[in-house]
């Protein structure tokens, strides 16, 4: 059992640095620690200047996403015991670095907002009509895609997003689909122009790494391919049956 683990962290201070550099810290090894614990230890005891994001420390808020040995992970859910020989922590891939391990997520925020991830209805049901009823089967249709915690590990894993930053991206498309499939929602038409735009679903070449990296089993790759299929079906049906209304 090693006493200490070497934790190498990519540092970047925009006020003093032109580019990032690496700094290594000796962190006490604890069998039950996660990588976030090591980072917290560094900040509390070794180097107070280290900057990073974290919150719930239990894999639900999506704040602590970082690259651990080059692969995007939630640091609160990644055990230190898998890296006894040492590890390297870098900010999440494919996002600009603001400082140290903090990345600029405005691009994702804008894309998320653009798909309108909320229930869209032409007319709200009046209160007297009671609640919107959904069977378990209807909820099962979109349950998986509703598990997304907006942690952006999928964007970090996606080479298409890395090569072409305009790509709408896995999480945004998966969340759009979550609402398109919700029986209470009537917003598929509105979302089509965002999803089926040139840099929307069509940029995806089904590498599948987004689903591999997702810590919540959302399977955004599946969501994207299903969206492609349903979108094309919608266009074909629309061309044949217009102007009848249709669900995509």
């Amino acid at each position: 059992m090693p006493e200490f683990v070497d934790v190498t962290i990519q540092r970047y201070n925009p006020e003093t640095d032109d580019k990032p550099h690496y700094q290594t810290y000796q962190v006490p090894y604890r069998e039950d620690w996660v990588v976030l614990d090591a980072i917290l230890h560094i900040k509390d005891n070794l180097d107070a200047t280290l900057s990073y994001r974290w919150s719930c420390r239990m894999g639900i808020c999506g704040s602590c996403g970082m690259n651990v040995d080059g692969y995007p992970k939630l640091t609160c859910s990644t055990h230190l015991r898998e890296y006894r020989q040492g590890l390297t922590i870098e900010p999440l891939s494919n996002f600009p670095v603001i400082r140290d391990l903090v990345v600029d997520i405005e691009d994702f925020m804008a894309k998320l907002k653009s798909v309108k991830p909320w229930i869209i209805r032409e007319l709200e049901q009046p209160l007297g009509a009671g609640e919107y009823r959904q069977s378990n089967n209807q909820i099962d249709n979109f349950r998986q895609f509703s598990q997304c915690i907006n942690c952006m590990l999928c964007y970090a894993a996606c080479p298409v997003y890395g090569m072409e930053n305009e790509f709408l991206g896995p999480a945004a498309i998966a969340l759009a689909r979550r609402y398109n499939l919700d029986s209470r929602d009537e917003g598929s038409e509105e979302r089509v122009k965002v999803l089926a735009a040139s840099e929307g679903i069509w940029e995806c070449s089904f590498v599948g790494e987004c689903s591999a990296a997702c810590p919540k089993g959302v399977d955004p790759a599946k969501a994207i391919q299903q969206t492609k299929f349903d979108t094309v079906n919608g266009f074909v049906m629309g061309a044949m049956l217009m102007p009848f209304g249709k669900r995509t």
Binding site: A110, K111, M163, V194, A196, A197, S205, K228
Partner: protein, 129 residues
Amino acid sequence: MAAHEPWHRRADLKPAYGHSFWWFMFGNGGGIAAVFLPVVILVAGVLGPLGVKNFMEDSRHFAWTLSNPLVKLFLLVLCFLTFVHAAHRLRYMLFDLGLRGSVVVLEWACYGAAIVGTVIAAVLLFTTP
């Protein structure tokens, strides 16, 4: 690619029907090619040369097979769908390998080659008595 406004403020978003069409062709092409191409390569490319008699084993049999209009149609569809499927994948592969520049030229080159290949196949198949 040109820098855009942040996505939630973009007013220029509209469905890309061109992309949709080629993806549709790619999907169907992949399915047909996946199911029908292996057996053709197995018989004509591997078993045949190794001694198993088949439709390509001499000119007479090959010509007789190709004289059937259903066979011509099947082979033409197989070629067309495989070429289009390949064109779509190749186009994205070239992106993945870093080829940037004019996207439109790339699209024309890939899908154009698929169409040209199909036309050549059609001419050869349907002018063979």
